[in-house]
């Protein structure tokens, strides 16, 4: 055991003193912080080029409404008031006026009247292609008559990803159609609006009644609790696995290529070597985790949301992290030992990467239904257990009590099996040279004496 610890200590010291560790330490905060900062910076940097819309309204019943709505929007709906100082600092002349700053592009409407027997959609499509128009709207008179029509109200464009214009158009037209219907039915429009006002639904947790009769009121559900904590924890665990397991594979491969492994296995058994390396990796990741979790705890306290992250959440995170690192670390270490070239290792790595990615693919479905059949089934897919169970633990309401025992047992069993199998592969692989083995051959190594 002393030798295993000696290997783990050397791996740990070597890793935390490397530039890669320092860079790795800042990568996640940089990614997250940088992402937020980038989004913030890009928030107001939209394309303010006016978007021109042609409207073909043969009945002429909506044109004036649309024209007025566009004028009102362009005048008042796309601006944000700014103080003089900020306006002076603004770096774009476009969209800036004294006292206000343009946030969205103008909509410039043009009423289209066809000449002769030309088809409006053909003519207008050509103008869209020529970049003269963003799109065009075809308003069929059946909008008001209620007659069946294939396309009572259509918007044509070659840039469907720009949805702001059709959404605005739909809203304005529908408002007008609704008011017209109320008028035609001799109903007071304001009264109808008041009567049809929607009631807002809020989501709350459960009320708890204690044995002594006291009642603890339900708490309002919060995005921090329902999404941010489980998702953030999963991403943190995923990142820790990604910074450790492939790194371990490269390291084992490098030691093998540089014949260091041969020196080491003359002093320790291949299994001791693998175990020492794994423990070293777990120690490195635990150091990273301690720093990040410390940051999370501090931030949660600072922003007054620490009650959403119970102490047990930290404990579960660490437990699942250790299982995940041992599982994936042994798997990747074994693959590294089996190869003699980086290229071979990378091709063997692909299936292992898919195993790591499974929880990421399933994250939305699991958060939506943490105790559904998909979530429960994936929890017991061996290598996915740590990440998926962590996600389910932290997404309200949490898994049933029996799973607090079965999922860790599943993790333990998978870890033991993977350590055993990887140890067998490592024993043969670390001294083998030449072509990378197939998965069939790796299985053969596992079951060899």
């Amino acid at each position: 055991m002393n030798k295993v610890l000696a290997i783990a200590r050397a791996e740990f010291v070597q890793a935390v003193m490397s530039k890669a560790f320092i860079i790795g330490l800042f990568i996640m905060p940089l990614f997250m912080g940088g992402g937020i900062a980038f989004q913030k910076a890009m928030e107001n940097r939209v394309d303010l080029t006016p978007r021109k819309l042609a409207v073909y309204d043969p009945a002429g019943e909506l044109w004036e409404t649309l024209e007025a709505a566009a004028k009102a929007r362009n005048e008042f709906g796309i601006w944000e008031p700014v103080d003089e100082e900020s306006a002076a600092e603004g770096d774009a002349d476009i969209g800036s006026e004294p006292g206000r700053k343009q946030l969205r592009p103008e909509f410039v409407l043009e009423r289209f009247t066809p000449t002769g027997d030309e088809r409006p959609d053909v003519v207008l499509s050509d103008r869209v292609r020529d970049n003269d128009l963003q799109g065009f709207a075809l308003l069929d008179p059946s909008i008001f008559s209620g007659e069946e029509s294939e396309r009572p109200f259509a918007y044509h464009t070659d840039e469907p990803t720009f949805t702001e214009l059709p959404k605005w158009l739909e809203k304005v037209v529908n408002q007008e159609v609704r008011s017209r219907r109320f008028r035609d039915a001799n109903m007071d429009q304001e009264l109808a609006a008041a009567l049809s006002k929607e009631v807002t639904l809020t989501t709350w947790g459960l009320t708890e009644a204690a044995d002594d009769g006291t009642i603890k009121d339900a708490e309002k559900e919060n995005d921090v609790q329902t999404f941010l904590i489980p998702f953030g924890s999963l991403m943190l665990l995923f990142m820790l696995v990604m910074t450790t397991a492939p790194q371990l594979m490269n390291q084992v491969l490098e030691e093998k290529m540089q014949r260091i492994s041969e020196v080491l296995v003359s002093s320790v058994t291949p299994f001791q070597l693998m175990l020492g390396k794994l423990l070293g990796s777990v120690a490195v990741s635990s150091t990273l985790a301690a720093i990040y979790l410390g940051g999370v705890a501090f931030s949660a306290h600072h922003f007054g949301v620490s009650h959403f992250i119970p102490l047990s959440a930290y404990g579960w995170f660490i437990l699942m992290m250790v299982f995940a690192l041992l599982m994936y670390g042994s798997l990747f270490g074994a693959l590294g030992s089996a190869c003699s070239e980086l290229r071979d290792a990378q091709s063997l790595m692909a299936p292992a990467m898919i195993m790591i990615m499974i929880p990421i693919f399933a994250v939305t479905s699991i958060i939506e239904s943490p105790n559904g059949s998909l979530a429960t089934a994936l929890t017991y897919f061996p290598t996915a257990t740590p990440m998926i169970f962590l996600l389910r633990l932290l997404a309200p309401p949490g898994p049933p009590a029996w799973e607090l025992l079965t999922a860790p047992l599943m993790c333990l069993a998978t870890t033991v099996v993977l350590l055993w199998a990887s140890g067998k592969i490592f024993r043969v692989g670390v001294l083998s040279q030449g072509q990378a083995p197939t998965f069939g051959k790796l299985l053969g190594w596992v079951f060899s004496k």
């Binding site: 050397a10 030691e255 014949r259 492994s261 003359s266 002093s267 001294l431």
Partner: protein
């Protein structure tokens, strides 16, 4: 009489259909300097790995430092592989302490022993340097220190002198001989027959998995008789063309070594009739020559053909 440091009894190791070592028996006396010679792929490394219990034999017994079939004595074995294995990013001091700790040494003990060896091999000032900053010769000496740091009772050195300049070679040779003088058993695996001849008490040669030589240098030489003539003539190797009785000529440039079957005086007379003879010396074959006879192209061809009078003769001569 003390137990042999290494005792292999009828050891066989196969990899698939290839037999790497066949029915090998060997005793390496404690305190001796034993040479392992043989061409690449002959089974030397497999034998060394079995001695280190990295590989288990298919059959036979491997006993090392009195322990059989376990890695129990591995902490008392130092192994220097042919291809050096050092962590390039580690400092010399940390690397040596680490390798020492893997042999069961305490960190402080490993550090002080590392310092002692660094001083002895003139590398003290490189103590804090990263391994990647060292020259090839220095790296080799560091690898050597990492092998001997735990004061092994058995030292296995695979090509310890390759890449060393004459000065460093001499330093290493002295260090090895001092260790032998202190009682360490040394197994020296090498392709350099001159080194083996100069340093080793005994040599074993493995060829195609079989032991083909085993004994002291003088015993090995005696097995091959005095059939070699070293000569220098004004015409060089051309003077030997067309002469009968010559089995092999090794042209060394300034002189030639000739394996001759027949009366050496007749050869001298024939040469004198062709050119001026400056040197004519009857001598025993060198280990190099014996190596070539066993493992050279002729022998390989003979092995492939499965039967060659010359090769069979050599094998029989050795085994007799």
């Amino acid at each position: 009489m003390s137990l042999p440091a290494i005792q292999l009894s009828n050891v066989t190791k196969t990899f698939g259909s290839h037999t790497a070592v066949r029915d090998l028996s060997l005793d390496v006396p404690t305190g001796s300097l034993y040479g392992f010679i043989g061409p690449n792929g002959s089974g030397k490394t497999t034998t060394i790995r079995m001695i280190l219990h990295i590989l288990a034999p298919d059959s036979g017994e491997v006993q090392v430092l009195g322990k059989s079939g376990t890695r129990a004595s591995n902490d008392r074995i130092g192994y220097l592989p042919e291809e050096r294995g050092l962590y390039k990013k580690m400092t010399v001091a940390r690397l040596l302490a680490y390798y020492g700790s893997l042999k069961g040494m305490r960190l402080k003990g490993a550090q002080s022993e590392a310092d002692r060896w660094l001083e002895r091999l003139g590398l003290t000032e490189w103590r804090k340097a990263k391994v990647e900053a060292l020259s090839k010769g220095m790296s080799q000496k560091i690898q050597f220190i990492s092998t001997v740091i735990a004061k092994p009772a058995l030292l296995i050195l695979d090509e310890p002198f390759s890449g060393l300049d004459p000065v460093n070679l001499e330093v290493m040779r002295t260090a090895i001989l001092e260790l032998v003088a202190e009682g360490t058993t040394v197994v020296l695996s090498t392709h350099d027959m001159t080194v083996a001849e100069q340093l080793c008490d005994n040599v074993i040669m493995i060829f195609n998995g079989d032991k083909v030589l085993d004994g002291s240098i003088s015993e090995v030489n005696a097995q091959y008789g005095q059939d070699t003539i070293r000569l220098r003539t004004d015409a060089g190797a051309r003077a030997l063309e067309g002469l009968s009785g010559i089995e092999h000529v090794a042209d060394m440039g300034t002189f030639q070594e000739v394996r001759y079957r027949g009366d050496s005086q007749r050869l001298l007379q024939e040469l004198a009739g062709r050119t001026s003879v400056r040197l004519f010396e009857e001598t025993r074959p060198t280990l190099h020559d014996i190596f070539i006879r066993i493992a050279g192209p002729d022998a390989k061809a003979a092995t492939q053909a499965e039967a060659s009078p010359a090769f069979t003769g050599a094998r029989q001569g050795v085994e007799a």
